[in-house]
């Protein structure tokens, strides 16, 4: 099904070696029926995460980054969510799985670090206890042993004086320390996959750098797969191996992270890069993508990006408006895929940048 160039088949088997696929998401759609209508938060999403590699999922707010990754851990309310497609975590199919299955894989196979560490830690429980609880949920050990493990983890994520800190409440931590504690919580059961959902958005630049370094270091140490969700392309440039760009619930471009950022081949990715001030800091005017993202209640027909796309004229007929582009390898580039009708996107976009 996937057309990634160097597919390492790992269907149905456990991932052990660096490069093995831990998470295989296939044609995943997540929709929420609401009063106003059905919110199609994620549509036909396909991607893989591999051991030892960092996959960045980028996209604007509301593009479905969190929703898709929460689906992996089964954190949506099953009564209010329609999930279709397939999510294979370490060979286990999770779409339609029992709550008990999810309970088993959470924290052991896949763990998640949430965006806002302030609200994601329980305000009434001590930090050490919260981490120890996750350990005890999957290991039959005494409280003391689990607490010791929690202290080790706090130490590991670089919290000074972990013994004392374990005995404190989250509100006694600073923002950066809370996020470290969240990471400790995520890693306590040695998961094969760590999903970090915008782990640094709420943090200051200097602290953000600390946390990103930490995640990178830890990944090297544990060799696990990391999915880094972010909207900051500069962060991706410095930390990720692979990238998946999402727009309005769909993946629109994926491939090697550096390559995509250096040479975007989908107009949306291109637009994003162009609108970054640090990318074009000396230009008097930024090249902004016009318009705003579409409503998920009522996606435009054809390519979701078409109302904002400057290049749709270059596609013959009105295919952009009528036909949803399928994933295809980017012409002329290896290890890259896009969803775009442009015949020669690379050349088109390069030309456009030259014009400016």
């Amino acid at each position: 099904m996937t057309a990634t160039a160097n597919t390492i088949s790992s269907q149905g088997s456990e991932a052990r070696n660096p490069g093995d696929v831990v998470l295989d998401v296939n044609d995943l759609s997540v929709a929420f029926p609401t009063e106003e209508g059905v919110v199609r938060a994620v549509s036909n999403l396909t991607y893989q995460a591999r051991l030892g590699r960092t996959l960045a999922i980028v996209g604007e707010s509301g593009s479905g980054k969190s929703v898709s990754s929460m689906a992996v851990l089964g954190l949506h309310n099953p009564k209010r969510t329609q999930i279709t497609g397939s999510i294979k975590l370490d060979g286990m199919e999770l779409v339609g799985a029992q709550p008990s299955t999810f309970q088993k894989v959470r924290s052991t196979k896949a763990a998640m670090v949430f965006q806002d560490p302030q609200s994601s830690l329980h305000p009434f429980h001590k930090v050490g206890r919260q981490i120890a609880e996750a350990y005890r949920a999957h290991h039959s050990v005494s409280k003391q042993v689990a607490l010791k493990r929690a202290v080790e983890m706090l130490d590991l994520v670089g919290i000074p004086n972990p013994q004392r800190r374990a005995n404190q409440y989250p509100h006694e931590f600073s923002g950066g320390m809370r996020q470290r504690a969240m990471i400790a919580l995520g890693l306590v059961n040695d998961p094969k996959l760590l999903i970090a959902d915008e782990p640094t958005t709420a943090l200051d630049v200097t602290v953000q750098a600390q946390i990103l370094d930490l995640v990178n270091d830890l990944q090297k140490e544990f060799g696990s797969a990391v999915i880094l969700i972010t909207h900051d392309l500069a962060v991706v440039a410095e930390t990720a191996d692979d990238i998946l760009v999402m727009y309005a619930g769909r993946g629109v471009e994926k491939g090697d992270a550096k390559s995509v950022l250096a040479q975007p081949s989908m107009p949306y990715t291109y637009g994003l890069l162009q609108s970054m001030p640090s990318h074009s800091e000396d230009l008097a005017e930024l090249k902004a993508i016009k318009g705003t993202p579409p409503s998920l209640l009522n996606l435009p027909s054809g390519c979701s990006f078409n109302p904002r796309c400057d290049f749709k004229k270059l596609v013959e007929g009105d295919r952009c408006l009528t036909e949803l582009p399928e994933w295809r390898p980017t012409p002329g580039l290896v290890n890259r895929e896009i969803r775009c009708h442009l015949a020669d996107p690379v050349a088109t976009l390069q030309h456009d940048e030259g014009v400016r």
Binding site: G176, V205, V207, A237, S259, Q274, M276, S278, H279, L286
Partner: protein, 347 residues
């Protein structure tokens, strides 16, 4: 040289609070802003950067006189407005306006766009009888459809709301706009739209800006001068180019090195990162001497005892500044002085 619009000297804002320590009631202060000085000239943009809690918003609120300083002076067009009463501030309210960070909470959800934009007109008695036309004009100016005058804020996206906020600030035809993180809440693609709009307006209307942001890229793009704040103090102040290309204060250096760089993807070697340890100390009880010393790798004894002044790093620099006009001040006992500006990134 354009004339000085705003002159801030030794501005100070302490928030007093009481606390019981043992059996005593102790009075303490949150020193949110603790003696800062800067000037803004007509048509110029001053950027204010720094980590969370360093006093950026407090400064904005003081300058717009939404809050009253506990020390120092604020002069606007030569007039001391530091302690003016609300009714005396009417004139200032026309000349100094504010754009807020949160496009959701900065618009009253119960008012239509028309009423949000006409309120300043009514308050200041501007465009009497032609308010509606003016509102439509304003909408057009910020790139919104003038027919949407009867819509409520909830019907607009974040970027559009921010435009409404900008239009509101422009309604009174101010001379100085204080923008407190106007694009931080916006997505990259929208952020660019708004930045472009602000730049366009600045040029067309000859506005001065105080522009607060924590995104160094945004500040670099938009500002002429930059002030770097740390714990209620300005630690480095000067022309954008100087600050970015030849930072002298260790904190500025750390800040700049911490920001990830997209150009890494294009093969530019990653900057060597200065890793700061720990967090920003509490403004209630800031470190003695130099406030940055607790996280500084250059810290020595003198840093704890003596507070460094905001001065030019070297005599040459001082003369250069005098000669060329571009100031560059910093507050460190051991500034790093680069003589040549070679680290420029090719555009």
């Amino acid at each position: 040289m354009s004339e000085t619009l705003l002159k801030v000297t030794d501005l100070e804002r302490h928030f007093p609070f009481r606390e019981v320590q043992g059996l005593k009631m102790v009075k303490a202060n949150v020193k949110a802003v603790d003696g800062i000085s800067f000037t803004v000239k007509q048509g110029q943009t001053l950027g204010l950067v720094g980590e969370s809690g360093c006093g950026k918003s407090t400064t904005s609120r003081l300058v717009t006189r939404l809050d009253e300083p506990t020390g120092g002076t604020i002069e606007f067009e030569g007039r001391d407005i530091t302690h003016l009463k609300e009714h005396q501030l009417r004139g200032i309210r026309r000349d100094v306006q504010m754009i807020f960070q949160d496009p959701y909470s900065s618009l009253n959800p119960r008012h239509t766009v028309g009423s949000i934009l006409s309120t300043p007109l009514h308050v200041h008695g501007l465009h009497k009888g032609k308010e509606k036309a003016r509102v439509q004009e304003l909408l057009e100016l910020v790139g919104l459809n003038p027919e949407h005058i009867n819509r409520y804020p909830s019907e607009f996206s974040g970027g559009q709301r921010q435009r409404i906020g900008i239009a509101r600030a422009l309604a009174v035809e101010p001379k100085l706009i204080v923008a407190d993180e106007p694009v931080s809440a916006l997505d990259v693609s929208i952020q660019a739209q708004v930045m472009n709009l602000l730049a366009k307006l600045r040029n067309e209307l000859d506005l001065a800006f105080i522009f607060v942001a924590h995104d160094l890229g945004v500040v670099r793009h938009f500002c002429d001068q930059v002030a770097v704040m740390y714990l209620g103090k300005i630690v480095e102040y000067g022309d954008k180019r100087k600050i970015y290309d030849a930072p002298e204060h260790p904190y500025t250096q750390a800040l700049l090195s911490a920001a990830p760089d997209i150009n890494v993807a294009r093969g530019v070697a990653p900057k060597e990162r200065i890793r700061l340890v720990g967090d920003v100390p509490s403004p209630i009880d800031p470190p003695s001497g130099c406030r940055f010393r607790t996280r500084c790798w250059k810290a020595q004894e003198i840093c704890a005892t003596q507070e460094p002044a905001l001065v030019a790093a070297t005599a040459e620099e001082s003369t250069r500044a005098f000669r060329e006009g571009g100031v560059h001040l910093q507050a460190c006992h051991f500034p790093e002085v680069k003589t040549s500006l070679t680290a420029e990134v090719p555009a």
